[in-house]
């Protein structure tokens, strides 16, 4: 009995969500193998081999895996994953893209975005934007699962001494090709892994005003997030969106500025340890989940906050 974890990476760096997924895999029991499929991704395979609790790394290094195209990747995972008890991937954009394809090829149901493991065949997952938790039992012999990273502790990145075994690349159906990408560059911590997040909504009013949040985030060493409304208004790029259809975060401190607190936004941040709301509307629903609420105009409160933090 063993579990296969699909590594999330950018060919150079192993993403931390992989560590959370390894922790989930440990709860299932059995040996843990990690599949690294990429192009010139040796540093990732070496990093995966050091994760505490990993028994073996399977390493497929080929140009067809450079951009995580779902078609060749799903064929590889399906071929490699057949002998396992479960195949786990973080519920990132990459995992959500490829894993249902794997599940269908194996003719099994997928369990999406699990937040707890009850037993090796029974899992808890959020439904209805996190307003209900469903406990589901999988009847399939092989489980295909995506894991909500914020619900599991990260495994230690050091201490493991797994062997790295090179495996041959699979077939590339070739009907999808990579054209290009626009990756947002930021000096700030990655949103899903940040300890502190400062987030803004439509009430920020403009791209310029978002700079006030960036200043605050930088003072706190945190990341900047946003609601869908702020993204749609063009204040910030879409990859900063937090919520049911954006990223799920659970930092130590979440500061929601000019965010009303719609169901869809709360779905992405209500597991944060401490929530602070700054809003001029004292009736805003966000105050019902905030540990500390400040009814104030953001143009006064944010500069004051920056000053106070500098003391």
């Amino acid at each position: 009995m063993s579990v296969l974890v699909i590594a999330e990476h950018d060919n150079a760096v192993l993403k931390t969500a992989t560590l959370n997924t390894v922790s989930a895999a440990r709860q299932l029991g059995g040996d843990i193998h990690v599949l690294v499929a990429g192009h010139n991704a040796r540093p990732v395979a070496d990093a995966a081999a050091k994760i505490d609790g990993v028994a073996k790394v399977l390493f497929a290094d080929d140009a067809i895996y450079e951009h995580d195209l779902a078609e060749p990747l799903s064929l590889l995972i399906t071929a490699v994953g057949k002998g396992y008890q479960a195949i786990l991937s973080p519920a990132t954009a990459g995992g959500k893209n490829v894993m249902p394809r794997v599940a269908a090829l194996l003719d099994v149901a997928q369990v999406s975005d699990i937040c707890a493991i009850v037993s090796p065949d029974t899992f808890v997952r959020p439904i209805y934007a996190g307003n209900a938790l469903a406990t589901v039992q999988s009847k399939d012999a092989l489980k295909v699962i995506t894991v909500r990273a914020t619900s599991f502790e990260a495994a230690k990145a050091e201490g493991g001494q797994a062997s790295v075994e090179a495996i041959a690349a699979g077939e590339n159906p070739g009907r999808a090709t990579f054209v290009g990408q626009q990756i947002s560059k930021s000096e700030r911590p990655e949103l899903t892994a940040a300890q502190i997040i400062v987030s803004g909504g439509r009430g920020m009013g403009s791209l310029e005003n978002f700079k006030l949040l960036e200043t605050l985030a930088d003072k706190l060493g945190g990341a900047v997030g946003a609601t869908r409304a702020a993204v749609d208004a063009g204040f910030v790029p879409n990859d900063l969106q937090i919520g049911q259809t954006g990223k799920i975060v659970a930092p130590e401190l979440y500061i929601a500025v000019a965010i009303s607190g719609a169901i869809q936004h709360l779905a992405g941040m209500k597991d944060s340890k401490i929530i602070v709301a700054i809003n001029k509307d004292e009736e805003a629903p966000i105050f019902q989940v905030a540990d500390y609420g400040l009814v104030a105009d953001l143009f006064q409160a944010l500069p004051e906050l920056a000053t106070e933090l500098s003391k």
Binding site: N97, R101, A104, Q110, I127, A176, G180, L220, G293, L305
Partner: protein, 249 residues
């Protein structure tokens, strides 16, 4: 080019849902239902392709109870040409829906399938990918831009770090993100016209698909509620609380 769009009837996104006291599910009696928001975006995109002369016919499919017919009518009022309702009182999970869609694809032979990236009730985000796998077609998931050029679809996708563009050889499956477009409101004349558009009725057994659920829901419960905290009077008090009480900064 024929375009197939799949739509789902779900509890309206503004409804604050209630979990049933016996833990068997979510209370859906006397609750407002609408078309899944992502599916509205999918229908809108198909209609725009038709308006641009790229699509010739739009077939919209929904699966589930008879009331799903209303969801199909909505899509017809937005501009789809005809509908197919696969009636079933069994809970249809993504793998079953993908298999049913595959059977419909075999009959209809569309060149493009557009679906929402996820339904806001089960939040699975699986069906489009599963359908593409079963058909052996390429997929463009989480699309925020779609351009059709002959036998090729160029899809800009929302990924964790930003955006990515891929090219797919048609036929292909595209799942849409909310930022792809702004769905139109159906006008009253179009709603009237939609009543005359045909809707075929089928069942899973007509399509030869076993829809038995693979995942058994053992219980549904409310998540632990956060307690509302305290209001602070000013910024200085806020910072003091974060430093000394919560100890997070």
């Amino acid at each position: 080019m024929k375009v197939l769009v799949a739509v789902k009837r779900v509890v309206d996104y503004n409804v604050k849902i209630r979990v049933k006291a016996d833990g068997t599910g979510v209370d859906t009696g006397n609750v407002k239902f609408t078309m899944n928001p992502f599916d509205e975006t999918a229908v809108e995109e198909a209609v725009r392709l038709k308006e641009a002369g790229k699509a010739t016919e739009i077939v919209v499919v929904s699966m589930g109870p008879q009331q799903a017919q209303d969801t199909i009518r909505t899509a017809l009022a937005m501009g789809a040409d005809r509908g197919i309702l696969v009636g079933s009182d069994t809970e249809l999970q993504p793998l079953a829906v993908a298999k049913l869609l595959k059977a419909i694809v075999a009959k209809e032979q569309p060149a493009l399938i557009i679906v929402g990236k996820q339904a806001i009730d089960d939040d699975s985000n699986q069906t489009g990918q599963m359908l593409a796998a079963l058909l052996g077609w390429p997929q463009g998931t989480f699309a925020s831009k779609l351009a059709i050029d002959g036998e090729r679809a160029e899809v800009t996708r929302e990924i964790d770090g930003g955006l990515e563009t891929i090219a797919l050889a048609l036929p292909a499956v595209v799942t849409v993100d909310l930022r792809l477009n702004e769905p139109r409101y159906a006008s009253l004349p179009n709603i009237m016209k939609a009543k005359k558009k045909p809707i075929d009725a089928l069942t899973p057994s007509d399509l030869g698909v076993d829809v038995t659920p693979r995942l058994i829901t053992l219980k549904v419960e409310e998540p632990s509620r956060r307690k509302a905290g305290v209001k602070v009077a000013n910024v200085a008090e806020l910072v003091s609380k974060l430093k000394n009480e919560a100890k997070v900064i």
